[in-house]
Symmetry: C2
Subunit: 358 residues, 2 copies
């Protein structure tokens, strides 16, 4: 009866209805529609009902942008997230945790992957600022963040994650990189290792430096003099890590243990160990949990980060600021968890004589 033809879908592009259209159909003023849509008081029950029916019939969806423009606080209920690289499962987990908190509060999240490119950081911030996000969660990639101060001054809070920012004083949520690296190395030394190789990410990445510093500090503390030949930096993917690890292991005086300080690098190291059949002879402790790290043989001992907690804390800090918290910025350090699985407990040469020595 009502259908005029039997094509499955009405193809004509309908104009998007506005409050004006709803008002006309319901026979009320436009402001009354606004009141109903926003649940404001002072609308009689049956007027409200009429408006709701009209809105329903037109499939009206309010335009948040128009509303935010006029509204006093100008909030867009949107936050921006800058993540180092989506390739990294760590970042994906953080993203998810943040998104969950945001959704609960009616916020939407713009996520951008920087792929560790400093230029991308600026570009992303500009794009977000033009879209008037209320706040930012940033993984610093450039070596100076002072250019972000203006956004803080304008009332848009910011929380940095994973790495400490430079040039601005904001809430940060980071992993205990230095201490956890020390713990990993301490663990290996306790198994009797002295020649411990370090496999590090790009040196310009702060966490890579901190983990290396922790590595060196723990060696020093335990009276082990580090062999520069065993400290490798600037690895960023599994292929290069495999190559380097192979070279280290075929050295005249090879390491008896490896501390791998990043996810993909660990994968590369494991592959190299397997290729040389050394996986049961050379100990391995990895920073950051490697997916299904308990499936490989031997199972991988790791210092596991807690990306879910990092994301949640960052989001909570950001929303606290948006809610008006003006207390001094906090530096939150999220501890890691040493997960003992086997690869890190392969004994070193010092083990046999450990009790007798020193």
């Amino acid at each position: 009866m009502t259908s005029m033809s039997d094509v499955p879908a009405p193809r004509q592009a309908s104009r998007r209805p506005t409050m004006r259209d709803v008002a006309r159909l319901a026979g009320v003023g436009i402001k009354t529609v606004s009141r109903v849509v926003n649940g404001e008081p002072d609308v009689s029950a049956d007027t409200a009902e009429r408006v709701r029916k009209a809105a329903d019939e037109l499939q009206y969806e309010p335009n948040m942008h128009a509303g935010n423009l006029r509204r006093g606080d100008g909030r867009t209920h949107t936050i921006g997230l800058l993540v180092s690289s989506v390739a990294n499962p760590f970042a994906a987990q953080v993203h998810r945790a943040i998104e969950r908190v945001a959704t609960e509060r009616g916020y939407a999240v713009f996520a951008t992957s920087l792929e560790d490119d400093p230029a991308a950081e600026r570009r992303a911030i500009t794009a977000l600022a033009r879209r008037r996000v209320d706040g930012y969660v940033v993984t610093p990639v450039r070596d100076d963040q002072s250019y972000l101060q203006v956004h803080l001054d304008r009332g848009n809070p910011m929380v940095c994650i994973d790495r400490e920012p430079t040039g601005i004083d904001v809430d940060t949520v980071v992993t205990s990189n230095y201490d956890s690296a020390r713990e990993a190395v301490r663990h290996l030394i306790a198994q009797g290792h002295r020649r411990i190789a370090f496999l590090g990410d790009l040196e310009r990445i702060q966490t890579a430096q901190l983990r290396r510093d922790g590595y060196l500090a723990e060696l020093a503390d335990q009276g082990v003099s580090p062999d520069p030949a065993l400290t490798v930096l600037d690895l960023h993917d599994d292929t290069s890590a495999t190559a380097i690890t192979r070279r280290l292991l075929t050295l005249p005086d090879p390491p008896t243990a490896i501390f791998s300080s990043q996810n993909l690098v660990t994968v590369g190291a494991i592959r190299a160990l397997q290729q040389l059949g050394a996986e049961h002879d050379v100990a391995l402790v990895a920073f950051d949990d490697v997916e299904s790290g308990d499936l490989v043989t031997p199972r991988v001992t790791v210092v596991a980060q807690d990306p879910d907690r990092i994301g949640r804390l960052a989001a909570e800090r950001l929303f606290a600021r948006l809610d008006g918290d003006v207390s001094p910025p906090r530096q939150l350090v999220v501890p890691t968890r040493l997960v003992v699985r086997g690869s890190g407990e392969i004994p070193g040469p010092g083990r046999a004589v450990a009790t007798g020595s020193t």
Copy 2:
């Protein structure tokens, strides 16, 4: 000289400058500022220079929302992405591919994780519609998407990924679930297996059904009658998968091979195999590449999806629609790649007599 104190940062919250402010400072009309900011012609070189300097001095950032509101096409240069679950590395990869294409075109991406919750799908769409995204990339979760037709009619294109939508006719980009499942099973049968277990995801998920259908069809085609006891559905995480796999393997007449049809389920299956020391005796082929699947022993043979290609194709389709493409919706099927690594080549009982039998 110019600094009045030595606090590091000017704490006072500055009002955000508008075009009006820039215009006043540059001594020009507001429309002229608009012209300069948008690179429109008909502004003299030195006026433009003055405007640029003023904008710079005030650190002016144009308000895209206000612009979009007034602008003819009303485009927000924003797209929405609904992903099944961020926990899944597959989704993370897709997300990244889409984001890359979008960023190239000056688009920002709202990503929402549905965690396979049907209610979340509707909520997310509403939130995106109110923010007036230009288009959608959707992983269907509900069993009916016809409620989305209205957005199509209003000129907001949509591309579905991973699963076919129901009730709407839009571009889709999916993996060759059925055919690839058949290929996996064919591979196992070729190794001499007859008792092949199937481990499936939640039955309400379409891809899970397709993979099971492929599994059953290939068995039938090869004259193998399926044992219902070996077909398990509704697994969704590694823990339950481990439990089920253990039970299957301790059956009086256990399977000699396993086809695991989802990522996390595969992890659970591998764990069970290892726990029972059966990883070298029972063959395993998995759907969807499992991260570091070539690190475990034996290395895992998989039918690998191509999430990067899926994401890229989806984004390209969406932008083509936004650019005015009105050709009939396309169904793009992205093939998988059989990656032979070892676990799938463990011979079955039929193998020894394979040449003599039939």
